[in-house]
């Protein structure tokens, strides 16, 4: 059925006027009601701050409380004083970042000279990383530099990251790195 804009308005007005089955051949009303229910009845509502640039826009996350417990929708938070509900294309697409089939969902390992990833357990991965750190650190640790000054460090391990972490995680991460003796500690702010 071809409808120009004027005819469409006439049709939808007719629907609103109370016809159970419109001249479109189907009824829009139940669909609309279901869409509203998704948010209000099944979803948990939490606030967040956009993960992209540093304007700090507020957003509302609706998470299903039934089924898979995943995100239903993310939209601008109208009560946030900076963005007042507005979001840019990236912020407005945040749901696709979270609910994305391309995400990494399990630890992976690539052995020397191998051409493939293998899935490993968290315990195996962290245990092996800890052993690597210790072996490298212990083999390269400098208590004094070439001038004889106390330095207590290793320059054989380096770290970059991350402005994508929360404040609390940043502090905790740098504490770990400095306790290990790293001086090569850098992240996005340098580039």
């Amino acid at each position: 059925m071809d409808l120009n804009r004027r005819e469409f308005i006439q049709v939808t007005s007719a629907t609103a006027a109370g016809l159970a089955v419109s001249t479109l051949g189907f009824d829009l009303m139940p669909v609309k009601a279901h869409a509203q229910m998704l948010k209000t009845k099944y979803a948990k509502e939490t606030t967040t701050i956009c993960c992209y640039c540093a304007v700090g826009c507020g957003a509302i996350v609706h998470t299903s409380q039934r089924g898979d417990g995943r995100v239903i929708n993310i939209e601008g938070d109208p009560d946030h004083v900076i963005n007042r509900g507005a979001l840019c294309p990236k912020g407005g697409s945040m749901k696709q970042l979270v609910e994305n089939e391309n995400r990494l969902t399990r630890p992976m390992y690539r052995a020397p000279f191998s051409d493939e990833w293998q899935a490993v357990s968290w315990d195996w991965a962290l245990e092996h990383i800890a052993q690597k750190i210790k072996a490298t650190r212990d083999a390269t640790f400098e208590t004094k530099n070439s001038k004889g000054q106390v330095v207590n460090r290793t320059t054989a391990i380096a770290s970059v990251g991350s402005a994508a972490m929360d404040n609390e995680e940043c502090w905790t991460y740098q504490a770990m790195l400095r306790a290990l003796g790293l001086v090569y500690i850098e992240h996005q702010a340098r580039i």
Binding site: A54, E127, I129, K134, F141, G161, T172, E186, H187, Q188
Partner: protein
Amino acid sequence: MTNHWIDLKNSDCILIMGSNAAENHPISFKYVTEAMRNGAKLISVDPRFTKTSSKADIYTALRSGTDIAFLGGMIKYILDNNLYNKDYTVEYTNASFIVGKDFTFENGLFSGYTKGKEGQGPSTGSYDKAKWAFEVDEKGIPKMDKTLQDPRCVFQLMKKHYERYTPDVVSTITGTSQEDLLTVYKTYSATGETGKAGTIMYAMGWTQHTVGTQMIRTMCMIQLLLGNMGVAGGGVNALRGESNVQGSTDHALLWHLWPGYLKGPKASQDTLTAYNTKWTPKSSDPQSVNWWQNYPKYAVSMLKSFFGDKATKENDFGYSWLPKADDTGSYSWFDIFDAMYKEKIKGFFSWGQNPACSGSNSGKTRQALEKLEWLVNVNLFDNETGSFWRGPGVDPKKVKTEVFMLPAAVSVEKEGSIINSGRWMQWRYQGPKPMGDSRPDGDIIMELFNKIKELYHKDAPVANKGKNNKKGKKSNQNSKGGVFPEPILNLKWDYETNGAYDPHKAAKEINGYFLNDVTIKDKQYKKGTLVPNFTMLQADGSTSSGCWVYCNSYTEDGNMAARRDTQDAPNNIGLYPKFAWAWPLNRRILYNRASMNPKGEPWNKDKWVVKFAGEQKDGKWTTTKWEGDIPDGPAFPLQNPDGTKREDGKNPFIMQKDGYGQIYGPGLADGPFPEHYEPLECPVEKNYLSPQMVNPTAVVYSTDQDSHATCDPRFPFVGTTYRVCEHWQTGLMTRPQSWLMELQPQMFVEMSEELAALRGIKNGERVKVSSARGEVKCTAMVTKRFKPFKIGNGIVHQVGVPWHFGWRWPDSGAEESANLLTPSAGDPNTRIPETKAFMVNVTKL
């Protein structure tokens, strides 16, 4: 930002230069637009006509890398036409300070220069900054001439320095017409009038140059001359590009810092006393707050957060347990990949970052990764870094590196805070649980270090010992104990609740605790309670605070970052003081005492920031009371209502030793006044201002992967990188998303119609962009937004490439990173790379 996003609406003139805010910080335009509705002028200066330019009252172009010439011309214009704010300049800046006789500037070089020696590090040269010092009186206070007439005062030296920056010379360098220069100068310097405010919005367009820091400083000088610091609608506003890059900087994920902008310790500072003495400035001027005099309190409180009960006065609070940098060493991003390329680094964490695309000279970075023994890559998606061993042109069978790739949770799957560019700390909550087997970064960090601690713990459980013995040879390498285990075993590591990372516990530690019962100003504080604010931190070990500038963010009154009160403050300028929390002390506009005259009356009575409302008697203030924003210190103003000087009044720039805004900045690596130098790679054969072509202290590396080509016919066009609204940084978080990829599907190179005609390139065809370091295939985007520049007697073309792409996503593998083109050379103060001005060629495929 010294101010914050909403405050943009209070401005009378907004200069956007070195940023394309409409594209990259789109919601900021809500407030730019509001200012314009109220009569503000918007000026856009950019090599390309951008989305920001399309909204501007005034647009003009300049060649990439010539901003100091452009702004130096504005300083000359302001001084020549007496447009500076005299009261502000005299009272609040160091314009009146007398500079020592050793300071000179000749032939493009300041006094004290020594050329770098080949093979002795990447610095092309360095200055002895002692030559630039102020003359001081017997008490060590700088000598001043408040008439600004002394030929050796900062004001006169500045005037002399910028005399050379005539519209004619500036136009020759920048390619901007003299008429456009004067229009911008006139419009912006109108904000020097008392009660008017001008602001600058800049981003990586200023930082990513061999003279990046000095570009920003030139604008700081203009803001001080025009009286735009500390006022509503003013300030110097860096538009930061990552949601928590302000926080990650505050918490010192940088080699040269400790949390809270404390200095990273150097090898020569062998004791805590030596360290504190080195970094605690002393001022004998009673009118200078000299806030950094509190340095030892913040350093000791931080060490107490690191090591808890194990940090004692006797052991220097664990100072020696933390690593020290060599005094002349540098351990920056550049240095990491240089050392890695030279096989000096064996293990590497790439945590929430994608260096194979994000750093400059990605070719060098990618080759460096092949030389590692092990790599830990933590991210949301597989990326060009974690999968470097199967990247373009790499044979996995030849790459020895072991790679661990760990899946992180997305921000909405966990709880914690981030801090925006305006220093607002905001709390985020958990929506869904982490997808699949992904985990929050905090949990990964906790669990990893638990395992490390276990390996270092001498009294490990018997079961583990047995397990290790079975591994035969490996048991030796991984035996319990280990080298210098003290910092690992003594690190306070109690941020878990029921086996999971608890961000509230970490946030409280960052704020800090009283560790004893303490009495301060007749008030008692109990051991174990949260410190209300950093003025109560102590240097004796009785308080902890992981990052002093955050002390006040999580107190006995609760989590300040989680506040949501939408009521504005009485001055109604958009401070929203009970919405979220801002460092320091919830102050929304920094240096806000400079928004008032010396008597404590706001320069602008309508858009006032703070107001002194103490009682007065016989023309003298008798009590202190402040209204509005949290003032930069609660002291009396500098003068009484009758205009007499108060000995207990304080200067507004409290973080500076002397309390004055620094028009003359003797602390930078490349000179106390900004000077124009050409980019390391440039299209012109001479610097029209001096015989010195390039920043004489620029940082340039020398491996076979570090080649540069200036005035080289093989690379005749200026290249620059930029961003688009639909992607973010290397694109790793946006390229795997279908909606955004539909909007911006591929790598492109933007060029003028003139350049396209010159090369016979049609809009939409694939072309090759190459530099001295690499090449990238791009789709040609021919627009009117770039125009050729007339530079000297020649024509210079400029092209632009977005840096959001990489081979891993989209699946075609055909879209690559712009950073394969950019140089790993940069600014001597920050070591940020010069990715905004380099030389390229564009050819048909």
